[in-house]
């Protein structure tokens, strides 16, 4: 066990190191620096957070008199990103986010909801501090204490791709409750497990009070920079806080570096809708001065690891801990807010500017989404796939597409026009959105180059993680243009981006056709092409020509030996744009929209379909493929036998489904609602947007509560509904074999079920 030096009580004049964490406290910002020696240093910077109000000059003067607080002053700022002149606004200092929100609401009421508009109200103070000081998390900096505050010298660059990260002390925390089945807040702590480097520590002796004391002491001694948990936000930390109250230990339960104990929060997590799907995010637990990563609650961490989180934190200027538990859109927005703040543009509290008025005819032309070309259902030989790299963000950057630049008032006769719609694009200023994605695109390209160049597998993995994290942000950048709550989004810019993308894909198709290629399938930013006798080189030449002509990067994914485009399950003659599978010349299988890719597919079905695809992938071409179909049905038979003989374990039977509404709002007894109700009966908090896992035990049972069993209640003796799982298996198998005339009943006959 190693002890670290906490220099928080030293009087530091000057320090060099990496910004680990920061948060506001009593009209100041607390910043934790990780030094080159591995110590952590706590810095405090007196700093004022302000909100702004715009309105009629006399109304602002009147408001200033009403507020009568020190620091209230008139300032000149841009209230809209498209403004060419600054406006006079009222600056009002506030001490924290809550005060900002409360004051803003009072001002709205005072102005009758008409006289005033508010700005910078809900920007996190830690982010605002980073924007104002022009620094970023995990930046290597030199901070000097001056009489008038901290002076920051940046010894790093956001654009750097081979930046150094200090060695971090990482700890994994696990707490087990006394109950055998579903842990509850009322259960006593059975044991606490800590993994720190190669060391594993189990705290299981003494009473609950002793365990809590030992935990706090150990955390203090080990002084980790990063604490990983599984369900730390939804359960572990709220549970510890409740147990601390029970043991009259709550004032001493300090897990962060700041001497403030963990508290029970009365706030609930949030259910929110994204792309038509309800998600749930539990209330995050922030450990001040450390980084808490809830591995169950961080999509970005799951995909890109700590390196990905740090990359996003650096480029979007948002603390790592927040990156880990917030949406990707929030991180992406932070990059935009930085550019706004640096350009004196205020950040609107609410987006009230609506879409420009357009005729229904214009809307018919404009609002058409991306390019698509329906594939012909069935198997196709020797098809090549070309994918544009970050097409939409690239277009947003190159064409300067942003809320304030599309249909700007300052250049109606601009030479830059949106195809089909003839909207003008600003020539005088670069938009906030293009500015915010420029560096992301550059870095993503650099990481790809570095990945290709390095022979060190650990470095390659590092670049891959960082590139993947940037890709997430870029994917989100386009969607946010049309997102209702995006600060600098506007539907017209969204429409314009789609129009440019359609034009690009059409142009690309024409180029391919000129070279004798036939378009088999096209969707959004990808094209599937074939030409009799075409070699890989022909595709590469085409790719190079497209690159030259469109000035956009496009990658050649490879040539498929064969690719199968699948039909709709309800209308067998109609293709589904995103449902296909195929095998590249090098043997790689690519599948989209089939059971192997669905979140609600039980493992047993996923494994079966994967195995069937592997068998089919041995086919060199379409005729060889047909010869492999009976062998793939043999795979299906194997799984049918395993299911029928009840040899499948619970782990392979769980079905995971999202709750699209609160449990009490379900009118029909759908399976996930039944399982959720079982959990509610066990006093588990279940919210809309959460995923529920269950096993189907008897789908036909007249009592709905007996149809499924929630995963938390399952044991090795739990029976399963063989017929229902067989149905799922046959349906998934029929999907991949549908173009060849197989239906689920056919497969049942072939496997001896019928």
């Amino acid at each position: 066990m190693s002890k670290s030096t906490d220099s928080s009580k030293e009087c530091v004049q000057s320090v060099k190191g990496w910004i680990l964490d920061l948060y506001p406290k009593e009209n100041a910002m607390v910043i934790w620096i990780k030094t080159e020696k591995g110590n952590t240093v706590r810095l405090v910077n007196r700093w004022q957070y302000n909100i702004y109000v715009s309105g009629n000059y006399s109304d602002l003067i009147d408001l200033a008199k009403q507020i009568a607080t020190d620091g209230v002053a008139l300032e000149e700022k841009y209230v809209r990103p498209e403004d060419s002149d600054k406006s006079t606004v009222l600056r009002i200092p506030v001490s924290n986010s809550r005060e900002a929100q409360e004051l803003a609401e009072k001002i709205l009421v005072y102005g009758g909801y008409k006289r005033f508009r508010l700005y910078n109200v809900d920007v996190k103070p830690s982010q605002m501090y980073l924007y104002e000081k022009d620094i970023f998390p995990f930046a290597f900096v030199h901070a000097t204490q001056r009489s008038d505050g901290l002076e920051w010298r940046l010894l790093d660059s956001q654009g750097e791709v081979e930046y150094k990260i200090p060695p971090l002390k990482e700890l994994t925390l696990e707490v087990k409750a006394a109950s055998e089945r579903i842990p509850r807040f009322t259960d006593e702590i059975r044991e606490i497990n800590i993994n720190f480097g190669s060391e594993s520590i189990r705290i299981d002796s003494g009473d609950e009070f002793d365990k809590l004391i030992t935990l706090v002491e150990l955390i203090g001694q080990l002084d980790p920079d990063v604490i990983y948990t599984s369900n730390g936000d939804a359960f572990l930390f709220p549970y510890l806080a409740r147990r601390a109250v029970q043991n009259e230990f709550s004032e001493r339960l300090v897990i962060g570096r700041e001497r403030s104990p963990l508290r029970i929060s009365n706030e609930k997590g949030t259910s929110y809708v994204s792309y038509g799907r309800v998600h749930y995010r539990p209330l995050p637990t922030r450990l001040l001065g450390r980084i808490h990563i809830d591995m169950e609650n961080s999509l970005l961490y799951c995909d890109c690891g700590l390196q990905g989180l740090i990359e996003v934190a650096r480029i979007c200027r948002i603390p790592v801990q927040r990156v880990s538990n917030t949406t990707i859109g929030t991180s992406m927005t932070s990059a935009q807010l930085y550019h706004a703040v640096r350009n004196d543009i205020l950040i609107p509290w609410v987006k009230a500017d609506p879409e420009d008025l357009k005729t229904a005819r214009e809307l018919l032309i404009a609002d058409r989404g991306g390019f698509y070309h329906e594939p012909k259902v069935g198997i196709h030989d020797r098809v090549g796939e070309l994918d544009f790299t970050s097409l939409y963000p690239m277009l947003m950057l190159k064409k300067n597409l942003s809320a304030e630049t599309v249909r700007c008032k300052c250049c109606p006769d601009s030479a830059e026009r949106v195809p089909e719609l003839d909207y003008n694009i600003c020539e005088k200023r670069k938009g906030i959105v293009p500015k915010s994605i420029e560096l992301l695109l550059k870095k993503r390209t650099k990481y790809k180059e570095l990945e290709g160049r390095t022979s060190d597998p650990s470095l390659r993995l590092l670049y891959e993680k960082r590139r993947a994290a940037l890709k997430w942000i870029l994917v989100c950048a386009f969607g946010y243009l049309g997102f209702k709550n995006a600060r600098f989004g506007k539907i017209d810019a969204h429409i314009a981006t789609c129009a440019f993308a359609r034009q690009t894909l059409l142009k690309t198709t024409r180029l391919a056709e000129k070279r004798g290629f036939e378009l088999v399938h096209g969707i959004v930013d990808s094209l599937w092409l074939k030409k009799r006798g075409a070699t890989e080189n022909d595709f590469i030449e085409l790719r190079d020509e497209i690159c030259r002509e469109t000035e956009l990067p496009i990658s050649f994914e490879g040539v498929y030996r064969w690719v199968v485009f699948l039909p709709s399950e309800t209308r067998r003659n109609l293709p589904v744009l995103t449902r296909y599978y195929g095998v590249f010349m090098d043997g790689r299988i690519k599948a989209r929209g089939v059971a192997t890719r669905r979140h609600d597919t039980p493992e047993v079905v996923r494994k079966c379909i994967e195995e069937m695809l592997k068998v089919l992938a041995k086919g060199e071409d379409s005729s060889d493929f047909y010869n492999r179909v009976p062998e793939s049905i043999d795979v299906l038979k194997k799984y049918v036998r395993a299911l029928k003989s009840r040899r499948i374990g619970p782990d392979d039977l769980f079905i995971e489904r999202h709750l699209s509404r609160e449990v009490y709002e379900y009118r029909h007894e759908v399976l996930q609602a039944i399982a959720a109700k079982q959990l509610v009966r066990e006093k588990v908090e279940v919210r809309a947007g959460q995923s529920i896992s269950f096993i189907i035990i008897n789908s036909e049972n007249r009592f709905s509560k007996n149809r499924v069993l929630a995963a938390e209640l399952v044991d090795e003796h739990t029976p399963y509904d063989v017929d229902r799982y067989l149905e799922l298996l046959f349906s998934s198998a029929a999907t991949i074999l549908a173009p060849f005339g197989y239906t689920a009943p056919d497969l049942k006959r072939a496997t001896g079920i019928l």
């Binding site: 008409k114 987006k351 009230a352 005729t359 229904a360 005819r361």
Partner: protein
Amino acid sequence: MLSRLEGVSFGDEVFSSPFGKLNLGHLVFLHGTQRCLALSELLCVQAQLALKEGGLESKAIFIDGGNTFDPCLIAEYAEQLSLDSDKVLENVLVSRAFTYHQLTSLIANNLKPWIDRLNIKLAVISNILEPYCDPDIARKQSSIFFKVALNSLVSTIREKKIVAIGTSLDDQYVHKNSFFEQIAYHSNIIAKLEDHGDSTIVILEKHFANPPAILLNGCGKAPFSNKSSKSSFPMIEGTFLAS
């Protein structure tokens, strides 16, 4: 004083009869199903007809609070009435609101200047309740903004003498909050639409010519588009109830 003759009708005689003409200066609220959208879009076409044909000789504004506006439906109605669909589409002006702030801003700040500039006689505010009922937002705040929007709408209707149609396509928004009571208070006509297979029942919950007590027997043709069957004028049971 409002002219009793000036107003817009749904076109079909049987269907129009319970409503009568939708008069200038009146607010009509339709709720219940997706068919409200079809009806409101039909009115955007009807409004462009000559006065003698039951129209207003006017362009229409469609403020879309639910991103539900369907230009194809407008084109379809235009073709059924043997009108130039391109021209009809040009005469329907659309703006979408994705938040209650945007919807409030459109109604309170933009509607009146647009009416003046384009000499509009018909304004549709579709999904007028939905943005204020977004579960992600604080109801207290949205209630205040709803009042601001509604008061502004009512004053615009009276001052500019236009026909305004408010719709709510899903009755969960009608039943869950007090917004419905507020809009009902200001509405001259309220009709609830209920889908019954291919037919729709219209329940007239409020009518300014109180009480009309119209009960039609049998079936009539209704101006609803049925997208799935491509049949534009499916039969509708002509049961109209007055509250």
